[in-house]
Symmetry: C2
Subunit: 407 residues, 2 copies
Amino acid sequence: MALVVQKYGGTSVGDADRIRAVADHVSRTLDDGNEVVVVVSAMGKFTDDLMRLADDVSPMRPPRELDMLLTAGERISMALVCMALAARGVESASFTGSQAGIITDTDHTRAKILEIRPDRIREALDSGLVPVVAGFQGVSTDKDVTTLGRGGSDVTAVALAAALKADVCEIYTDVTGVFTADPRVVPRARRIAKVSFDEMMEISATGGRVLMLRSVELARRHGVPLHVRSSFTWEPGTWIVEEDPTMEEAVVSAITDDTSEAKITVGGVPDRPGVAARLFRELANRGINVDMIVQNTGANGMTDISFTVAKTDLDVSRDTCNQIKGDIGAADVTTDDNIGRVSIVGAGMKTSPGVTALMFETLYKHGINIEMISTSSIRISCVLRADRVADAVRYLHTAFGLDAIEF
Amino acid sequence: MALVVQKYGGTSVGDADRIRAVADHVSRTLDDGNEVVVVVSAMGKFTDDLMRLADDVSPMRPPRELDMLLTAGERISMALVCMALAARGVESASFTGSQAGIITDTDHTRAKILEIRPDRIREALDSGLVPVVAGFQGVSTDKDVTTLGRGGSDVTAVALAAALKADVCEIYTDVTGVFTADPRVVPRARRIAKVSFDEMMEISATGGRVLMLRSVELARRHGVPLHVRSSFTWEPGTWIVEEDPTMEEAVVSAITDDTSEAKITVGGVPDRPGVAARLFRELANRGINVDMIVQNTGANGMTDISFTVAKTDLDVSRDTCNQIKGDIGAADVTTDDNIGRVSIVGAGMKTSPGVTALMFETLYKHGINIEMISTSSIRISCVLRADRVADAVRYLHTAFGLDAIEF
């Protein structure tokens, strides 16, 4: 008997029909001899509707109250899932984040889980009930309702799976798994059957849209196997697991793309110790996440520092750079929000020295200029003009032999 | 400095505009030097929408899950009220039933409050915040979310006012107070400025639609003055207070009507001890509330027992009577759902012996037949044909001098 945590996203519980389909699937999973814990998101666009309502009511949205507001959606969907289960003769009980023992810090709207005390969930399982838990929410050490921020329902599911030592955490969504590239960009992209945590982290970090980096990290830390699959077709999807020494490592597993960032260049900086430290400390103090950083020192002892940030952080980042420009002796600050990033990810890269060369050659052959490069042991990312990103993904997908065979 | 509990019903927080108007009024109340605790219902018809959604999803609605579902509405409205208050510079904090310390029994969908532990509400008040509390909900001794049934938000407000020893509990609604009769039936009905708890209980019990009997009882037990008023005009409404020896008692304060009941007659019953006891015990065992009861023994030692029940309980009541008909030796069971009840209520009745006579004469003069009569020390109720109820209310309203002067 396996213990399965099943997380259903917003589209998976989007209306009465979908909720009944979820109940059917939970019932099938039980019939196959498993124990099931369900984690649900709010229905479809309900949370967006609540945000619009808040916008109508007031320009001020105290974070504590925003959390109180936004957690209403999961209560609705979990109660409805329990009702649909009851109609199938499956006994269940819903649990809010607080009732499920999801204890967080007090950082409203983006709280972090400190501890899980799943006593009530375990009791429910022991008495033969299916616990249905509200995703995305917890209770703070001050006993206030908190939310876990973007991708929060996945975090709830993975954290609960870890606390309950579940055999697998299934993430049900509206796509059939993780693909070798975004199928909207590359029609011949294939679903990946199995991928390691390390590769999945790189995929998530560089533009894979199915899972947030945060939940993959959490799953890796606790060794919780993830299975990303569709609640529309119910077919097996992508397994994300510990790397297995016997696993044949794909040289390149996936090509990802991301056009959500902008580039800032601080130019003509004297090449002396402490300049970069000062710059990135100031940005960090303003809560800005810097992604890629490239620094090249010229012959004249001057250097240009380029880095990328989320487009939404561009204005604050530019202002910050301009404020300290004088202090660090920089000549100018320029920005460019017309860039995109293409990455290739693959655990086999570690032992295949030709990968970097093939990537650069492929881009060169098609006249695509590389503006910045960053690498990890299992990833290479290039910053390009935004309008060449889709082409680059397609050419690389073909070059690395990932295209599905056409019949 | 007075402590005011303000309860806002569904129409009072029906949309963004109404919610802002509520925030303005709370702010004004504070400016007048008061402390305020707010209790809110769900917005407009939101709870009805959730019930429809539940109907779509499943024919089975486990009460625990129904409570989880239905309590989402108050969370939304209370968070929005706090946001609107923030925009006016008023610091506030929302509290669920559980956070407000509203401890109930485990009787889901119609829980009773066992105890209020308003520590967090008091703390909030002491630190200068306006607590905004979800009406209608509590947490059971099993730590599950419960709802308080019909009129539950009023119950929350009155119970909190009692626990906090508030100076007044203001019930904001879409009418301007309690009237001498239903203004839809009697256009010349007047708002009552002040009424005693005893009178208000009779008014609520016999068809007054503004306050449920349950909250008036609770307010009387704890001596919490109620003020029923409009959140659309904000003008002073009706005060419901302890009877005051100096108060001049109106002979008749209000005429009420109710067509929600049906009559059952168990005919030809032998007049011997235990028959009525058996009959009403059987009905009570099926959870049926019997309202008026009339028994007349004829010369032949046989008796007819007539009683009224809610129309929604008619079928079960009829079946119950038919099942025990043989046991109690009754001849027949007949039902009539075409009846209505008209009542006159007034504390001055106790000392004015002519009231009953005037009521009967008025009805007689207009050819209205009385089918059943029941009385308390401050109320007389008559059962009539349903189609004569509105006429009866109007004639009695005039006869007892309650009509507003027309200009």
